[in-house]
Symmetry: C2
């Protein structure tokens, strides 16, 4: 065989360096005064002083974007998946009362386009700034043969901090507390394998289609709606000690996620009267998906649930902040998460 170099094997170090220079400015904008390192160091350095926190506890989580990435790839639009991922991770640690400190990303692809990688990271960086979180590091891996052309996998890890007495873990959830929800923007980052299979494969719809349910929006717009962060509206509720439990509604839906924070002997009765984004009705109708399956695969419009002994105050504060909270159910003596079926 002829002489072979690393580029011929499908790995292009120069394109990797180009990606780094394209994303540099956006990443540096996320650096808070506690960041001591710059890009290109082996690890990111973050000063662990937490003014005002007596007993600091780090809260860490890792997540991915899932097959929403395939929709981004089909649409040729990688500008939103970065924010999807950061906001997802922010919400995941927010449920324990933590505020974000820093985030690290992992991007993997078969053949690196510096422009696409930079677009993904720039999206992350924008969301990091909104969540006051440093984009402290990351890895961009080119793995020829592992990923289809144009496919990128994107995952991230967030680290936040909470004062130990302020950890919210559901242990103080009691019968009589109410459940207040905040709307999702759509599927967020869960249920895309099922949604793609029904809408794109079985129905053969294109991302440009404008099915009636979506009231003028394209299917691509509905499917790529950005997973929102709940940090800013929820922080004032936390600082006033109004919440006994929170659930970020991801894979497993309301039942799978709310159940994780309920103490022994305590259950939840959901009042599913909140607005369901039209994309879910479209999926349910075309796929003939039973309601129970829809509820365990999708958030169905409830992106974030809060348990509180004082729902009026919670709703008042959220509405003053321009949010659209809704009553979502109540905590009862019992077990598990059940739905009140008003119309049946």
């Amino acid at each position: 065989m002829s002489a072979m170099d690393y580029r011929a094997s499908g790995v292009d170090i120069r394109e990797g360096n180009r990606a780094v220079s394209l994303m540099k400015a956006a990443v540096r904008r996320t650096f808070t005064p506690r960041v001591l390192s710059d890009l290109g160091h082996f690890g990111g350095l973050f000063r662990a002083d937490f003014p005002g926190i007596v007993s600091p506890v780090l809260v860490a989580g890792t997540d991915g974007v899932g097959t929403k990435l395939r929709v981004a790839s089909l649409a040729g639009d990688y500008s939103t998946v970065g924010a999807d991922l950061v906001n997802h991770c922010v919400n995941d640690i927010l449920v324990q009362g933590a505020t974000p400190l820093f985030f690290l990303d992992y991007i993997a692809c078969g053949s690196l386009s510096a422009d696409i990688a930079a677009r993904i990271v720039t999206g992350m960086a924008g969301a990091c700034v909104e969540n006051r979180c440093a984009l402290l590091g990351g890895e961009t891996a080119e793995m020829p043969g592992f990923y289809g052309p144009g496919d990128y996998d994107v995952a991230g890890t967030i680290v936040g901090v909470v004062d130990e007495p302020a950890i919210v873990d559901g242990s103080k959830v009691r019968p009589g507390h109410r459940i207040v929800g905040l709307p999702s923007t759509g599927l967020h980052t869960n249920g895309y394998s099922l949604a793609r299979r029904i809408l794109l494969e079985a129905e053969g719809m294109s991302l440009d289609a404008r099915p009636g349910e979506l009231m003028g929006a394209t299917l691509g717009e509905a499917l790529l709606a950005v997973h929102r962060s709940y940090l800013n509206p929820v922080l004032p509720l936390l600082s006033r000690g109004l919440l006994t439990g929170m659930a970020h509604i991801t894979g497993g839906g309301v039942p799978g996620n709310l159940e994780r924070i309920l103490p022994e002997g305590v259950g939840a009765v959901m009042d599913p009267c909140w607005p369901v984004p039209p994309v879910f009705r479209l999926i349910s109708r075309l796929g003939e998906v039973p309601e129970e399956e829809m509820r365990s695969a999708f958030n169905m419009g409830a992106g974030f649930l809060m348990v509180t002994p004082d729902p009026d105050e919670v709703v008042r504060i959220l509405e003053e902040a321009g949010e659209k909270p809704f009553p979502a159910g109540e905590i009862v003596a019992g077990r598990g998460v059940v739905y009140r079926e008003a119309e049946e």
Copy 2:
């Protein structure tokens, strides 16, 4: 179309739950007293008290295993890639003087086998215990259509801590300092795209082959040799303040990684007399890869480099600990990393 549920779309939540129960015991064994959470929480909780550290700085890094995973897949052996990843991450923050606190993993595949995921995570957990690092959380993502059958992508994030005055960043590297190396166990986790292309594709070798260079070992054994951790031998050198710089030799080889820690006006002259593992000679011979390309794609036997004003003491301590350190070169006034070519 007929009614469709999430399982039919290729995502099996029950298999995911089975994976979690298979890996639980191994993960719990990594929990240090500072871990406040258990598996199944939204985020992992880690108490941020650092006894004996005056000005704690967190050091974080993310990395993947790269296409070494394809070799693991071909060999049907996922028992080692977890340790590869953890040790890689440990070394990445060790170069700045940090000791590990906790690690989070990300595993992605097209169709989840609980047994394979558990084997990967159990390998990570074992390496976490050896590096006194908690396996604080993780995400296992099933993404149908994204990954080939049997392919798993594995990435991880590590967070460690260093006392600010003890950060090692190369700024104190001076001409006259010596470079001491520690042997790698093989390719570690870099250069696999090139190695696979030459050995498995162009040459069509099987993982069971025993080429003469490998002196009795199979190709699979040589390619899956575990990426080692340098934490235990290097810690005593750090606590005695003997090192002015360290480089973990990953993608980019010695030149690409050593260069990252050299201050302005300072260069390195390498004496490449250390033992080169036979697998590199095999790759170089069969692929007719030029020496310069080999050096920038592979570690060539130098897994970890340390810069020190006192090489005798460094070598003495390492040898007493049962290590096989080697003189690797010296720091000079100048620029960049060059090789002394003794035989030319």
